[in-house]
């Protein structure tokens, strides 16, 4: 039973952790490019904010899945 809980929590952690790392990697690539673009064209602010927010979908969906795992597993 205890081992099951370990796997449950581990799965939930991985479900949110891996997408969060992927988001971080994507944003680390978008960020500098966005800063460079903004230096030349400040009017791109909205587009840049959106571009930075787009990879966050991964982390958010990961979070939702983690919650589902925890709720389904009774954690």
């Amino acid at each position: 039973m205890e081992l099951e809980m370990v796997f449950l929590y581990l799965s939930a952690a991985l479900a949110v952790g891996i997408p969060a790392l992927a988001t971080a990697w994507a944003q680390s690539r978008i960020g500098p490019a966005a800063a460079a673009a903004l230096a030349e064209k400040p009017e791109l602010t909205v587009t840049v904010v959106l571009l930075i927010a787009i990879p966050e979908t991964l982390a958010i969906l990961g979070f939702v899945i983690a919650v589902l795992i925890l709720m389904q597993g009774g954690g």
Binding site: V46, L50, T57, F63, L68, M71
Partner: protein, 626 residues
């Protein structure tokens, strides 16, 4: 929009352009040339005059920018003659540029001395050690930690490059780094410089006036100078303020009148003429056209005529766009304007944004306490902002969002997180700390409604043109609803017997979708379903926000002292409030721009820019012309 053509006697062109500028409602465009209609063109004198006007504009713009203020021009003042305006603008620009140059020099000098300051005492000790500095070049160096080892290495490298012809003295500074003085014969200075650069040793350069002096004298002078510089800078600032006070409004008036004049001269280039008459064309909002015709007729006098150009002569792509919305939704035009404007004749999404944006925001933040704080901040912004500015729009959007945040705060029973529960506030729909599934369901359901509305708006818009694609788009909306109902039946939220009929209906609808929108439609449809799932972020960001607030409340009991706990909790709530405003804004904006607008929005409209007076450009930039 109406396209109008104005005709009149050629000699009245300039006065009529003045009238058009006074009315300020027509966006002038260049009419098509024909054999009998030629561009007016400028004579050599006029071209020279245009250059002079542009020079004055440049001078006055630069002067006002350097003044750092934008005073209101005096009302009803007479326009200055161009020569006098040029004189005042040119003189002010030169004077302010000189002041700015002096200020820059003083600030650079202060920054250089400040770099030396931590090493003053160390360098003074070196300087007092009787070093003969005549005929040598002195380098002031700074070594970070572990100076001893670095010093030995550098001494060895210098000996190898320069023999014994150098002197290297060092002293630890107050900041823990080592200050070093390297003296080499002037002839060897280049070699030493190269060596220092290769070793990555930081060299402090002396301000020009301190070179050629002994170390102690230099440090003394630097200290004195550091005391003098603030007064010198303050004197420059006083001078700038004096100029702003004495000449600011005059310069603002020159800027307004000269820019108006420049706009009129440039507008003349848009006129086409026959030997006796001129023709001007432009766009004007339909609603104001009758009033505009009356006013221009009165102003331009006899011989002036206006006619409406038939819509068959122009295409929608060239028409400028004015967003026209009821007062309630008008602030939300700021959100639409952050994207390229919609094309003329397509749907303005502002009313939808006005409904869904604050609602989604409220569902995410959903806290009476944070909502009230946001309302207070928005109210202050609204009081401090001027009408028809972006800041005013932002403040009004903030008020709408705060209203929804408070409403959903009551529904969730949240006041600064779970503090509401402790004070006896009960959730009316669900408790977000525990009810993840209901919250997720609400988020997805909202996404479903939002996307279906987007698809239906797209279908209705398309129905006037491409009926087949419109039916395809409408069918996509129907299929999204069918799939949602089928899923509800599968999860027994609807009677189970509905499941099979719903699935069969969806399968029947699929070919209609493909016929309407093409073979790629199923792929796009899957992406639409993905768009619906994206609304799960409403739940995710909302849950994160409430959990942060709960953690903040628990801080009160987590520290030994209640006072310290409360202080930490307040700081944490403040941080959560900032995040709680920023994060939903970004995500809800994204849901609108990416998921919702993607279903019907046609960007590419050109901003409506009427030919009007320079002084009204700011306040009128957001003006509704209808």
């Amino acid at each position: 929009m109406s396209r109008i053509r104005m005709l009149g006697p050629k000699e009245q062109l300039q006065s009529c352009l003045g009238c058009v500028q006074d009315v300020g409602l027509i966006q002038l465009i260049e009419p098509a040339e024909t054999e009998s209609l030629r561009p007016l063109g400028l004579t050599i004198e006029q071209a020279h005059h245009l250059r002079s006007v542009r020079n004055v504009v440049e001078d006055v713009d630069t002067a006002l920018e350097l003044l750092g203020v934008t005073p209101d021009p005096p009302k009803g003042a007479e326009a200055l003659p161009l020569t006098k305006a040029a004189l005042i603008a040119g003189r002010s620009r030169r004077q302010l540029e000189a002041l700015a140059e002096q200020r820059r020099g003083l600030e650079e000098e202060r920054a250089l001395i400040l770099k030396f300051r931590p090493f003053f005492s160390a360098f003074r000790k070196i300087g007092d050690s009787g070093l003969d500095l005549h005929g040598v070049r002195v380098f002031y160096l700074v070594l970070r930690e572990d100076g001893e080892q670095e010093l030995r290495r550098m001494r060895a490298a210098l000996r190898q490059a320069l023999g014994d012809g150098f002197e290297l003295l060092s002293q630890p500074s107050d900041s823990g780094e080592s200050a070093m003085l390297l003296a080499v014969p002037t002839a060897d200075a280049a070699k030493a410089e190269k060596l220092l650069s290769e070793a990555g040793v930081q060299s402090l350069s002396l301000p020009g006036q301190f070179e050629e002096e002994g170390v102690s004298a230099t440090i003394r002078r630097m200290q004195t100078r550091l005391g003098e510089l603030p007064q010198a800078l303050a004197a420059l600032e006083r001078e700038r303020t004096r100029i702003a006070r004495e000449r600011g409004r005059e310069l603002a008036w020159i800027q307004a009148s000269v820019r108006d004049h420049l706009a009129t001269v440039e507008a003349m280039e848009k006129a086409v003429v026959t030997p006796r008459a001129f023709v001007l064309e432009g766009w004007v909002p339909k609603a104001v056209q009758p009033d505009l015709e009356r006013r221009l007729g009165l102003c331009c006098g006899p011989g002036f005529e206006i006619e409406t150009v038939s819509s068959e002569e122009w295409s929608g792509d060239t028409v400028p766009v004015v967003l026209r919305n009821p007062r309630l939704f008008r602030p939300f035009e700021a959100i639409t304007r952050m994207m390229p404007l919609p094309k003329y004749g397509t749907v303005d999404p502002t009313p939808f944004v006005g409904i869904f944006f604050p609602m989604f925001f409220g569902i995410v933040l959903g806290d009476i306490g944070y909502g009230t704080m946001l309302a207070a901040v928005s109210l202050v912004l609204r009081i401090r902002s001027q009408a028809n500015t972006t800041l005013r729009s932002v403040s009004e959007i903030g008020l709408a969002c705060s209203l929804f945040a408070v409403i959903f705060g009551f529904l969730y029973g949240e006041l600064f997180g779970d503090l509401g529960h402790r004070l006896g506030l009960h959730p009316l729909i669900f408790n977000r700390e525990e009810a993840f599934f209901p919250f997720l369901g609400l988020a997805i359901a909202l996404g479903l409604v939002h996307i279906v509305v987007g698809l239906l708006v797209g279908a209705v818009k398309m129905f006037r043109g491409d009926k087949r694609r419109a039916i395809g788009k409408g069918m996509a909306a129907v299929m999204v609803v069918l799939i949602a109902l089928a899923l509800m039946a599968a999860f027994e939220l609807l009677p189970e017997r509905f499941f099979t009929p719903l699935v069969i209906t969806t399968l029947i609808a699929l070919p209609v979708l493909i016929i309407g929108e093409g073979v790629l439609a199923p792929i796009e449809f899957v992406s639409t379903l993905g768009n619906v799932l994206s609304y799960a972020r409403i739940m995710a960001v909302g849950t994160a926000s409430v959990m942060m607030a709960v953690v903040a409340n628990r801080m009160v009991g987590a520290f030994g002292s209640v006072v310290v706990g409360i202080l930490f909790a307040l700081v944490f709530h403040l941080i959560n409030f900032v995040l709680g405003v920023f994060s939903p804004t970004i995500h809800v904006l994204r849901l609108h721009y990416v998921e919702f607008f993607g279903k019907f929005y046609s960007p590419g409209g050109a901003q409506y820019r009427p030919f009007r007076h320079w002084s009204v450009r700011e306040s009128a930039s957001d003006e509704r012309s209808e």
